[in-house]
Symmetry: C2
Subunit: 367 residues, 2 copies
DNA sequence: CTGAAAGCGCTTACAG
DNA sequence: CTGAAAGCGCTTACAG
């Protein structure tokens, strides 16, 4: 019972053939799809013509094209993209590599990428949850064998590379929210300007004594945000009320620091720009305990727009949205351009962030 | 300049050929990989033998096998899995479909799945971030064309189905953290027993007046957890201190409910089992404001082990870990069994959860 | 133990 | 406008 023969078995409703396998390593019941030969035969044309009709290429009478497409629909035809990929030397497939086991950054990026790629008919392989470099390399190899057309590499901070060797990969690579090697293409949020705008927002609301509480000084993002904060102050002729305060990216850091700031009876700030939403949450909680009113006594801005924090904080946080979804989408589109051989400049793209205004600064509140 | 000819162009260092394309829709510079023909030729064997040597099948002298494998390494050979897939009628590829835009549940599931599949040489396509059913269907279709061997469908609650028609898909499907249709295979956490164990934990610590504050009553999970709570009480001859309190799955619900519970000077509970970590966080915050000590005055258990909440709460939450990563892994392995035609029983699998003990209940604390 | 040949399901020069 | 044929890179009966 050859496969060729199986292909000729009578059709069921939607052109799907049910077949009993003779091999014991195969499913007992397998659904055999219609092939382009089936479509061509039933439409009374050659395979060549069927292919052209289905792909909207070549010239032919509308009648023929429509008939072929109609038959394809009747048979519930699905072109086999492995066959197509083999001849076109293109798999219409991308790989997404990440070391973010937590998902905080990866999922929005993945969603933006996946969604944009769907529109262009390309699918994306996910490699997540690998902690050891060897396993990550294994995954990369699997993607090579799958002949992905390109790779997007994403991480959990903009100043670290993934532990994979991508140098002699022979396929286009794009970096997102990850360190981007010289000569490559990368996408990151514009931390500097986001911080500057957030600070300017506070200044516009009349705040003058603006403190910056942020995360670990080993993170480049922390320094960029600090620089943006300083720049906004400077442009407005303001001196920093205090040095930027580095620490963990945690609620606890925000909480304790805010407490310390107000315990000393000294001069008090009227606003705090925080390096992330968790710190901001800690800060707000501290003030709640101390009976200090947000935003009346002090205004707070966060960073990340991690909604589960930003919205749960009382009052809800005004915070910077890094646009990770958009980052994923942009990276995918750039990758597609590279794959198609379009000329594209190397370097780091810093994409605009958006300040989401809620209630923690007073002024107008959008939510 | 035919492709065949390109294949014969001289080798670079690792057997990679750099080639200038003559077609304007192709990359200007493309890296051409070595094929099995190249390996066979260089090893002085037939393609058949090369294939068998590489796949560890057939009988041949160790010398031959090793020589072929050595050559493959020299040429940096990567088998083209599209070609292999075409002949084996198997893509070694899975699809992961989700409607969880938030990523709370999906990423752990995806990581567990992806990681387990890597070990078996299968890759997983991710479809995330689609809100409209039409777009999700589009994605599903793309996966059909990619000839995925199977599909895992995951969501954000166990009592809802995704808006896709999977009935006449003709490929194995497994459900994870999602409603599982009659006759299908599904994996969910064992909410009932997890809740029962969590409650038993409180009882073992000497608590007797245990309140249950949980999420929306429209969620099946809420009812299962409530039932587990009741069962544990019943087994210990305890009556519920109060009716289960449904509400939103939010901090605010926990906060307000906890406040209400203690404002009335009436009899007070000595423990609260919460339907998720956000509620628990709200509860703990309320007690902090009221000067009620956790765990001394009252013990708290959460649900989800969402670390960014559970660990940030003061004191850190004792909470149920649903084992989503394990769920993803188990689903993948089951799917592989189905794909390989192994007999497998339909129905819902309820996987064990794990109580993670921190400080919010007193007693021994592991972290 | 080893290899020539057919075939997986497509696309695409090439020829009519 | 249409089709026969070659070929993408593999695996696997089948035959020696």
């Amino acid at each position: 019972m050859s496969k060729r023969y199986l292909n000729l078995v009578s059709y069921f409703a939607e052109g799907v053939k049910i077949v009993v396998s003779d091999s014991n390593s195969r499913p007992a019941t397998v659904v055999q799809r219609a092939t382009i030969r089936d479509v061509a035969a039933r439409a009374g044309v050659s395979v060549t013509t069927a292919s052209r009709a289905l792909n909207e290429t070549g010239r032919m009478s509308d009648e023929t094209r429509l008939r072929v497409q109609q038959v394809a629909k009747e048979l519930d035809y699905r072109p086999n993209s492995m066959a197509r990929g083999l001849v076109q030397q293109r798999s219409f497939t991308l790989g997404l590599l990440t070391d973010d086991t937590y998902g905080r950054f990866t999922l929005p990026v993945a969603a933006g990428l996946s969604s944009a790629m769907t529109d262009r008919g390309v699918s994306v392989f996910l490699s997540a949850g690998e902690k050891e470099p060897k396993r990550m390399q294994l995954n990369l190899r699997a993607m090579e064998e799958k002949r992905v057309d390109g790779l997007v590499i994403t991480g959990k901070r903009i100043d670290r590379q993934l532990p994979v060797d991508v140098s002699k990969l022979g396929m286009p690579v794009v970096y997102v929210y990850s360190k981007c090697p010289q000569g490559s293409i990368g996408f990151v949020p514009d931390d500097f300007n986001a911080a500057k705008n957030a600070t300017q927002h506070l200044i516009n609301l009349g705040r003058r004594k603006i403190v910056h509480i942020t995360g670990l000084s080993s993170f480049e993002a922390a320094h960029l945000r600090k620089a943006g904060w300083l720049e906004a102050l400077d442009e407005n002729g303001l001196a920093p009320f205090a040095e930027a305060i580095f620490g963990n990216w945690t609620e606890e850091h925000g909480y304790k620091t805010a407490y310390g700031l107000f315990e000393s009876g000294a001069d008090r700030p009227d606003a705090i720009f925080c390096g992330n939403d968790q710190i901001a949450r800690g800060v707000v909680d501290a003030f709640a305990h101390m009976g200090i009113k947000v935003p009346d006594d002090i205004a707070i801005v966060g960073f990340d727009n991690w909604e589960v924090f930003a919205k749960a904080t009382r009052p809800p946080l005004t915070t910077v949205d890094m646009g990770l979804t958009c980052l994923g989408k942009s990276a995918g589109l750039a990758l597609l351009d590279m794959i198609e051989g379009k000329p594209i400049e190397s370097g780091l793209r810093k994409l605009n962030c958006r300040l989401v205004v809620r209630q923690s600064c007073g002024g107008e509140a959008s939510e």
